[in-house]
């Protein structure tokens, strides 16, 4: 089975060389894809020089992580996709192999990576409580927002990617709903810069929006209740004005 490693990124020139080289060293990796969010630096240039397939994500609206992930899946040709953050300072080929292994071995269709680090604030304060309310069967995941994931490529074509930060939890819920075998795999210690608190506000809104939209879609909550509950938080688009549609 061939593995495609995908790095959604923006302005991370200094990490690209090492990340691409490390990914190519992992077992079964046939291609590395860098999806750029419109960098001002040489992210794309370095990626191409290191032999990665490079493309700029189809939409540049901020934050667009989900669009970058979708475009990576669409460009990939491997049987298994592995997504990693490009700025993991202690990245080794082991990260890729640990994530891909359960899929290659036929034990899982979708793997969520979990790692040792201080608890993520959006994870603990937003994602986990909402998952416990609406999708208790997924509350067991230690890192439901982890961007370190792997899965069967064709499975990613069957779900809609959230455009922004809600993409990771959205994929978890949707692939679970699709009947995919989802497991969590410990990938060890991840040395990674943590975002300052103020930078987490938008992320928290988008994660909450992604979970609530699905809860409404899956009839786990009343759309009117959700709107009342979230009154004032205008940045969460529940699609209520367009008839409760799923974005």
């Amino acid at each position: 089975m061939e593995v495609s490693v995908i790095f959604p990124t923006k302005n991370r020139e200094q990490f690209v060389k090492r990340a691409v080289r490390t990914a190519f060293k992992a077992k079964n990796v046939s291609e590395v894809i860098v999806v750029d969010g419109g960098s001002q630096d040489k992210t794309l240039e370095v990626a191409e020089r290191e032999g990665a397939k490079a493309i700029v994500q189809s939409r540049l609206s901020y934050p667009g992580k989900g669009i970058a992930m979708r475009d990576g899946a669409y460009l990939a040709t491997g049987d298994v996709l592995v997504y990693l953050d490009i700025d993991i300072k202690n990245m080794t080929p082991d990260f890729v192999e640990k994530l891909a292994e359960p899929v290659i071995e036929g034990e899982a269709d979708f793997v969520k990576g979990c790692f040792e680090r201080a608890a993520g604030r959006v994870t603990e304060l937003v994602a986990k409580p909402l998952l416990r309310m609406f999708y208790p069967e997924l509350a067991r995941f230690k890192q439901p927002l982890s961007g370190e994931i792997a899965g069967v490529r064709k499975l990613f074509y069957k779900v809609e990617f959230e455009q922004g930060w809600g993409v990771d939890v959205g994929l978890l819920i949707d692939l679970h709903k699709l009947g995919a075998r989802v497991v969590e795999r410990d990938i060890g210690y991840k040395d990674h810069d943590m975002k300052p608190l103020h930078a987490l506000t938008d992320m928290a809104y988008e994660v909450a929006g992604a979970i609530l939209r699905r809860a409404i879609r899956d009839q786990k909550t009343d759309p009117q209740w959700a709107e009342k509950y979230l009154r004032g938080v205008r940045t969460i688009d529940l699609g209520l004005e367009s008839g409760g549609g799923f974005v």
Partner: protein, 216 residues
């Protein structure tokens, strides 16, 4: 002509209407990935054959039908898919492979992959803005096939007018039309006043040389 459009979004909509107008007797095939969009496309474009296909299945379709297709227009909402499909179309020796970009920043990547016919729907934005905002020099149009350039220059100084006159008198391959400040259109320098605008059309290479000379 037998044309395949891939995608069912905004770009595909405009591409289908344009192709119907350009080649009313031709055969148009549209491929989409979702049942909902296939149903909408079938109703919107009754003259087209609309096919539901999985993402990977499109490549197979192109390979299997390569010998009978004259043109492929990749117009999905993802540049990754457009690039994938264009590469397969080229490998299948389809005479015309055209991609409609979602993000203009991907132009160079497509060119490197040998995709030469790239439509960038956003390219009109800087052109029209600079025309409206009165930029002194504008590239209005570059033809993808014949390397033809259309440009406009605001005749803001006597020196520039003289330079342009000199260059144009030496280059017979460049055609010019002048619009005076009051809006009169003429094809001779004689009647043009300062503040008017010159519109030039010609071979890209030659016209770019003239623009360089005039800019100095």
């Amino acid at each position: 002509m037998r044309t395949l459009i891939i995608g069912g979004g905004h770009s595909a909509y405009f591409a289908a209407n344009a192709i119907k107008e350009i080649d009313p007797e031709g055969k148009l095939i549209m491929i989409e990935f979702t049942t909902e969009k296939v149903n909408v496309l079938s109703k919107t474009f009754p003259f087209a054959e609309v096919i539901l296909q999985e993402i990977d299945g499109v490549e197979e379709y192109i390979k299997n039908n390569g010998s009978i297709l004259d043109a492929v227009v990749a117009a999905t909402e993802s540049d990754s898919l457009n690039l994938r499909y264009c590469k397969v179309a080229k490998e299948s020796a389809i005479p015309l492979t055209i991609s409609i970009l979602n993000n203009p920043l991907n132009r160079e990547i497509f060119l490197k992959e040998g995709i030469t016919y790239i439509i960038d729907p956003y390219s009109v934005i800087p052109v029209e803005l600079s025309e409206i905002l009165g930029s002194p020099m504008n590239i209005i149009y570059k033809s993808p096939k014949n390397r033809i350039l259309i440009t406009s220059i605001r005749l803001s100084e006597e020196k520039l007018l003289q330079k342009l006159r000199k260059e144009l008198s030496r280059s017979l391959e460049i055609s010019a039309i002048f619009v005076s400040q009051s809006g009169e259109i003429t094809n001779t320098f004689r009647d043009i006043d300062l503040g008017g605008r010159a519109y030039l059309i010609g071979a890209q290479e030659k016209l770019e040389k003239i623009l360089k000379m005039v800019k100095r």
